[in-house]
């Protein structure tokens, strides 16, 4: 009924006709808006992708709580704390299991061209859970032999064609920190900001690879709780009962802790947000130019409409609708190119850059705001349309 009424009341779609009868102008406008949109998609996509990438491993941990040293600032500068703290944490009645994890950067030799590169190595007790991946337990068993490592196939290509060699049945052996290791399995974690690649090994092998590591010192302690336990409550009580050389976080705040480091302690957030802001401003200027010259060119026609009895409000509505149409027509190509560029970035950098619904809607709102704001500014020109001047 409503729609029917609307259909009956509808008028000549003046805004649409004004735009579409000037194909060159609308092409320029759409190209400009799409360009601004793509810029915003890329900059914000990179920013969020980099933040997400900083916690690719964190997200996979099979843990409810995480123990770290209060001196640890981020995944690239983890400090150690006594492994005993995990045993003390076991005393809490809600704790069902713990895993001690060593976490540090070691030098990996590319077996193909023999160059070395820093890789993030995780050491843990293979009989204990580490990652939530269901197949991981089977792979972890292979680590019980000394000198075996699991290699992350999402690591950057500079580490060598490890997973393709491994999958073709070849025996993959190389050096880590100057010691011979054999790849006994492939996992999928993903590179992060700090780490170009990852490997997982047993605590025993880990200690052999980095003999300088103090005995009984670990970087991360994973704690699993009973299903029904109140995580925040356990965090509080453990923080009270454990000495101050260790900090207890929920897994979520551990992830936030890492993201926060990259957001606040580096210029990444600022740089990419600034890039997106540049796109926004460029878009505003283009849309304003287009709408302003459109209004100027049609000023006598607007004045004629006013003389015919159209009020100023309905003419302002025409300009506003032009802005709305432009925003939608500019957003669509921006969205499509954004998707294409994201998959390009994913395949070439292995960063987890995804089109998220939130970002897609934020950018739509920004483009809408850009077009409507410019339309509003261009409307000022309409005040120059004086119907008395056209006689």
């Amino acid at each position: 009924m409503e729609l029917n009424n609307f259909f009956k009341k509808r008028k000549i779609p003046l805004a649409w006709l004004l735009l579409t009868r000037q194909p060159l102008r609308i092409m320029v406008a759409i190209a400009g808006i799409a360009f601004a949109g793509i810029l915003m998609f890329m900059q914000l996509g990179f920013r969020d992708g980099l933040f997400d990438a900083s916690v690719t491993v964190h997200k996979l941990f099979d843990a409810d709580l995480v123990l770290i040293s209060p001196r640890s600032k981020s995944s690239i500068s983890m400090s150690g704390f006594p492994r005993r703290r995990l045993i003390q944490a076991m005393a809490h009645r809600d704790v069902v299991g713990t895993t001690a994890v060593n976490w540090n950067f070691l030098l990996w030799r590319n077996p193909e061209n023999l160059s070395t590169r820093s890789i993030l190595a995780l050491g843990f007790e293979p009989s204990k859970p580490l990652l939530i991946d269901s197949d991981f337990e089977r792979k972890a068993k292979t680590l019980k032999n000394k000198g075996r490592v699991l290699f992350d196939d999402l690591s950057r290509d500079e580490f060598g064609p490890i997973s393709s060699w491994f999958q073709s049945g070849r025996l993959v052996e190389t050096e880590v920190a100057g010691k011979r290791v054999r790849v006994s399995g492939i996992v999928s974690l993903g590179p992060s900001f700090g780490a170009d690649g990852n490997l997982i090994t047993s605590s025993e092998t880990y200690l052999e690879l980095s003999p300088g590591n103090p005995k009984g010192s670990i970087e991360i302690g994973l704690v699993r709780l009973k299903k029904e336990s109140d995580i925040e409550k356990v965090v509080r009580s453990l923080n009270l009962s454990l000495p101050s050389d260790v900090k207890v976080l929920s897994l979520k705040s551990f992830i936030d802790f890492e993201k926060n480091y990259w957001k606040s302690s580096t210029s990444i957030g600022f740089i990419f947000t600034l890039g997106a802001a540049m796109g926004f401003i460029v878009g505003c200027v283009i849309v304003y130019q287009i709408l302003y010259s459109d209004v100027s060119d049609h000023l006598p026609e607007y004045a004629t409409l006013m003389a015919m009895g159209y009020n100023l409000r309905s003419l302002l509505g025409v300009v506003a609708r032009e802005g709305l149409i432009l925003s939608i027509m500019g957003y669509i190509p921006a969205y499509v190119s954004g998707q294409a560029l994201y998959s390009l970035v994913r395949s070439s950098t292995k960063l987890p850059v995804e089109m998220s619904f939130t970002r897609a809607s934020i950018i739509f709102c920004l483009i809408l705001f850009m077009c409507m704001g410019s339309a509003l500014a261009a409307m000022k020109k309409l005040a120059d349309a004086d119907p008395a001047e056209i006689f």
């Binding site: 259909f7 009956k8 009341k9 509808r10 008028k11 000549i12 003046l14 006709l17 004004l18 009868r21 000037q22 049609h298 006598p300 026609e301 004629t304 409409l305 006013m306 003389a307 015919m308 009895g309 159209y310 009020n311 100023l312 119907p387 008395a388 056209i390 006689f391």
Partner: protein, 230 residues
């Protein structure tokens, strides 16, 4: 004496000035006139004598500075912007240039006029627009853009557009000035015929001596004053 409240237009000692201070010019000096429903009045006079100013005042496009100006009985002296805006819907205007919207077809241009009417469905307004174009003899040019039409055809579209809003008063400012004489004649005859069918009054400003005979009444203006009729 006829009842002046039924008059389409009533003007009593209307004055208008342009500019300020020393530069102030008295362009309309105590103008008085009236138009009754269905009357066709022509206004002639040398350029710069205030004809166009008078037309814009009657068309509610300018604020009345001094004097009595009633259109359809509504006082325009001191009228608000909104009153003037609403009044304009009942006044059709035809300009020296055709002033069609370049991006709209002939049919859409006429429908811009018809769209001002309330209470008609889109379809009805569209049908009316076609009807008007048929009335001005352009049924074969419905979907042409203004730049594909000749001068006379454009002016016909402009007439159709003005009449599509069903005005009770039609103001025309030299509608034939851009046309050759025979086309001008046709346009004026058409204008008069269609206006009379709608019982719409017409006030036309013109320089063109060949069309003076269409008028019911002829007014001459000079130096901001209407001369007594001869």
């Amino acid at each position: 004496m006829r009842n002046i409240h039924n008059n389409t237009l009533n003007i009593v000692s209307l004055n208008h000035w342009y500019g300020h201070g020393e530069m102030r010019r008295h362009v309309l000096q105590s103008v008085s006139m009236e138009i009754s429903p269905g009357e066709v009045v022509l206004l002639t006079g040398p350029s710069g004598c205030g004809k166009t100013t008078l037309l814009t005042l009657i068309g509610a496009l300018r604020k009345v500075q001094d004097g009595d100006l009633k259109v359809f009985g509504k006082q325009l002296f001191g009228a608000s912007r909104k009153t003037r805006q609403n009044l304009r819907k009942n006044i059709g205007m035809i300009f020296q240039g055709h002033n069609l919207l370049r991006c709209l077809t002939a049919e859409q241009n006429v429908q811009m006029g018809a769209d001002l009417l309330n209470g008609f469905s889109y379809k009805a307004r569209r049908a009316q627009s076609r009807e008007w174009l048929r009335a001005v003899g352009l049924e074969d040019h419905l979907s042409k853009l203004p730049h594909d039409l000749s001068g006379g055809q454009k002016q016909r579209v402009a007439i159709a557009r003005a009449l599509a809003a069903r005005p009770k008063l039609l103001l025309a400012d030299e509608p034939t000035s851009a046309l050759d004489s025979s086309t001008g004649r046709e346009i004026v005859d058409l204008l008069k015929k269609l206006a009379l069918e709608q019982s719409c009054s017409v006030l036309m400003v013109t320089h063109d001596p060949r069309i003076l005979d269409v008028a019911d009444r002829l007014l001459r203006m000079e130096d901001g004053q209407i001369l007594p009729s001869v």
